[in-house]
Amino acid sequence: MEFFDNHKKLFGSALQLFIVLTVFVAILPALNNQENNAPLPNAKPLNEDEVAGKNVYISQGCVACHTQQVRNVDMDKVWGSRPGIAADYANMERTDLWRNTATLMGTERTGPDLTNIGIRQPSKEWNLLHLYQPRAVVGKSVMPAYPWLFETKKELQEGDVEIIVPDEFRKNVSGKIVATKEALQLVAYLQSLKQVELPTGKPAPEFLYKKTSSENPKEKGQLLELDGESLYAQNCQSCHQANGEGLKGAFPALKGSPIVLGDDIELFVSIIMLGYDARPEFATMNGVGVDNNLSPEEVTAIINHERSSWGNNAKEVSLEEVKNILNLLEITAKK
């Protein structure tokens, strides 16, 4: 056939077919998305430090292991309160002439998703220590350590942020370990990663593939009650550690803690829900309960796990008691 024997016609038409398809499945959708898209009204643009921190995030290649996207499937609920939408990425532009836009959505979750890390783990002290040596706070972590974002100094100068590193992780280090500007900027960027609330009245897209469990809600409540250890691991463990002993100079021990073992359940619940900053020798605790939308059942399960583990032996707290306190605190548990 003449068509097949003429290289101009043959290669020309193959190229045309490919270009036409490219225009329709890639170029037009991409253009459409970048033109017809505006950031959400509540979205805050990154400040100077946060932009610099994002550049540190890019240059260290964090995207190799961390995604920044909440898919509209039920299993992704742990990473954000609603699925991601195109507007979430609308204010991202090319980094500069040389480097492409960094949406940092990622394709691998070797480590956790970071879309909402600014709400889930906002503690600066925790983040700095975790960057210096992840295994100092999360024993099973396989994340690389980033000691080059820190320097050692003999004397602290004004404005220096020192991090307290457990002895076993500061071998061959003499002096004080101080965060560099890059480390502080990176943490500022991580703290800025928060899902933006949709404008009021606008329904969020639904999470798909819900667990259509046969269990009725009552049973579900009981199940969650049994899940205290796993809830503790998800919400508390990265600071207070699996052995409940915390980390010296950063996060207090729950083992033998008067608050955990005491009778002032109101204080206990309020710390979990709203955070705590009463003791200068320790880092500030954020309102884990409110930030992570913990339900009364979940709070009860965590409290009872803490009161009965690591040699702690205090009497069980009832769901009713916690619910009453939550009402008192005027916290409407959303779940």
């Binding site: 170029i27 970048q34 290649g61 699925p83 991601g84 979430d88 960094a102 959505m105 396989v142 469990s213």
Partner: protein, 581 residues
């Protein structure tokens, strides 16, 4: 969605079926073996009965037997036909006479055929390409091996240039643009002029292209380690000025090839050239779309990323390697391709469906739902070119299966073709929405990309290189190290991928159950260790490959054995000439 009945999901079922194919073949072998054992036992019993019977023969029967024995014992002198004269092969009809007097630990495979009429200049160019490719293979997989070790020992070093996030793209990009691309281009510098039946248009351009591409990979690797990258899209980590060098290198080779084809002496354009030229043209389109430095804000970046990474794999590597396969496979089997038309069907179907599937890496993400659906449909359409291609290759093999055991190149071809089938269809199954729930974001993707980029592309390239280089240089690699290379690479790949796929499935199910994330990290530990072990075997096989390549091209001749009569005569004539002077 109940997690307990994942076995009703078609995507999972297809994957299990694909993994099951080799296992089923092994089971069939097992059944046949046990059947023969049973039969043998039955036979033993009837032998016993027979023995009982013959121990009680009558005198007359014995007499008959003795007579028969005398007849059987009759012998000829063994010289009735040949006489006593010396054997002579006056017409030179006997070749390749096998010597049975040596210990055959390694079976003797067919030697490669010398092709005398290749210009030495072109030979040199091709060897440079393949040599650089081999270097990048060893470099890239050394980096990959080190990355695999980091999962088991995250504190093995604390240097920013060697940290995981920076080194990972160094591994992927150097095997992509260094090993795979240079290997394919080098081989096409042989295939394109040969099937066009003309010399290459311009040899020098070939070197320019080689230098540009090497420069891109060197600069790219250094800049990535220094922390300068494009912002995170996979295989798009080099910044555009560096990728422009690569693009320019490929572009000048494209012009070179087109000019070669334009003055071809054959009327038709052989199907290899369809695939190869299209792959090069498409790569340039893909690179320009993805790297044009003034657009892609917001999610536009992600849509283009999905398009780019998948077209890079499917239109550049896959299309190119298939083109090379359409030349080398018939040539190695010494028969025409089974169906030219199937090759053409697969060609157009690949362009049509493959272009659509890019966004299947971002299923359930914020990109438009219709685009995700198109990608899934396109992924299913990929069954057509994959089945057409596999059928074509296997039917070409048909009738020549016996050649595999006698060749050190064909096993590489066969493994490449099998993985082309299972790896590509696995990709289709992974694109289904449910399988995406379980496997997306896990190391299943890593296993899949190694089954394809390594199982398909790399195995095919090895087969082609072992075919071509001995023809160019007249030197063959030692069979034992080629065999060791093949088996280490194949077993290593299976150790790498199978545990990783199993562990990742468990991890995905764990996420669906809402278990704490760190538990899923702990779960992966043994599977990551298996990956490092498999990776080590693969890496060691690459050292053997590099050694084999060195043997095939090394110039320092050891004392050569002259076995051919004409060589011995020539040597004698030469020495008598020098003696006369």
């Amino acid at each position: 969605m109940e997690t307990t009945n994942i076995f009703t999901e078609s995507g999972i079922l297809i994957t299990i079926t694909l993994i099951a194919i080799p296992i089923i073949v092994a089971s069939i072998l097992l059944v046949l073996k046990s059947y023969s054992i049973i039969r043998k036992q039955k036979y033993e019993k009837s032998k016993k009965d027979y023995n009982e019977y013959i121990s009680s023969l009558s005198a007359k029967e014995l007499e008959e037997l003795e007579k028969r024995q005398a007849e059987i014992d009759f012998e000829l002198t063994h010289q009735e036909l040949e006489g006593n004269a010396e054997a002579v092969d006056k017409k030179g009809l006997l070749h390749n006479i096998k010597d049975v007097n040596e210990l055959r630990f390694v079976e003797k495979k067919k030697k490669s055929q010398p092709r005398p009429n290749i210009e030495p200049g072109l030979t040199k160019l091709i060897l440079w390409y393949l040599g650089c490719a081999t270097f990048w293979l060893v470099f890239g997989t050394t980096v990959g091996e080190y990355l695999g070790i980091k999962f088991a020992a995250p504190d093995i070093d604390h240097l920013s240039w060697l940290s995981f996030g920076r080194l990972r793209p160094v591994h992927t990009n150097s095997v992509f643009w260094g090993w795979g691309s240079l290997g394919m281009l080098g081989l096409s510098y042989y295939v394109i002029p040969r099937v066009s039946n003309v010399p290459i248009f311009n040899l020098k351009t070939g070197y320019h292209s080689l230098i540009l591409i090497n420069a891109a990979v060197i600069l790219g690797s250094i800049s990535l380690m220094a922390g300068i990258n494009n912002g995170g899209g996979e295989y798009r980590e080099y910044i555009w000025p560096i990728m422009a060098l690569f693009g320019a290198g490929v572009f000048i080779s494209l012009i070179n090839f087109l000019k070669t084809i334009a003055k071809r002496k054959t009327r038709e354009i052989y199907v290899s050239n369809w695939y190869i030229i299209s792959a090069i043209m498409f790569l340039l389109v893909i690179a320009i779309v993805a790297y044009w430095p003034t657009w892609q804000n917001g999610l536009g970046e992600t849509i283009i990323q999905g398009y780019y990474m998948h077209q890079g794999v499917g239109m550049w590597f896959m299309l190119f390697s298939l083109g090379l396969m359409y030349y080398f496979l018939p040539q190695q089997l010494n028969k025409p391709i089974y169906s030219y038309s199937l090759g053409i069907l697969a060609f157009w179907a690949q362009i049509l469906f493959y272009t659509l599937i890019g966004t299947h890496h971002f299923i359930f993400s914020a990109i438009p739902w219709w685009l995700q659906t198109v990608a899934i449909v396109g992924s299913m359409g990929m069954v057509i070119p994959v089945v057409a291609g596999t059928t074509n290759f296997l039917m070409t093999f048909n009738g020549s299966w016996h050649k595999i055991s006698g060749s050190y190149t064909l096993p590489f071809y066969l493994i490449g073709i099998i993985f082309y089938f299972t790896g590509s269809l696995q990709g289709t199954a992974e694109a289904f929405r449910f399988t995406n729930l379980v496997w997306h974001f896990t190391d299943f993707t890593v296993a899949h990309s190694h089954l394809t980029m390594y199982g398909i592309i790399t195995f095919m390239l090895w087969g082609f290189i072992y075919t071509l280089v001995p023809r160019l240089t007249g030197k063959e690699p030692p069979q034992i190290t080629v065999g060791a290379h093949f088996w280490l690479a194949l077993i290593g790949l299976l150790f790498y991928t199978v545990p990783l796929m199993y562990g990742s499935t468990l991890r995905g199910l764990m996420w669906m159950d809402g278990k704490p994330f760190i538990d899923s990290v702990e779960l992966m530990e043994p599977y990551w260790l298996w990956r490092a072990i498999g990776g080590s075997l693969m890496w060691f096989s690459h050292l053997l490959f590099a050694y084999n390549f060195y043997i095939m091209v090394s110039k320092n001749k050891s004392e050569s054995l002259l076995l051919e009569p004409k060589d011995i005569i020539a040597m004698n004539k030469k020495s008598s000439l020098t003696a006369n002077i």
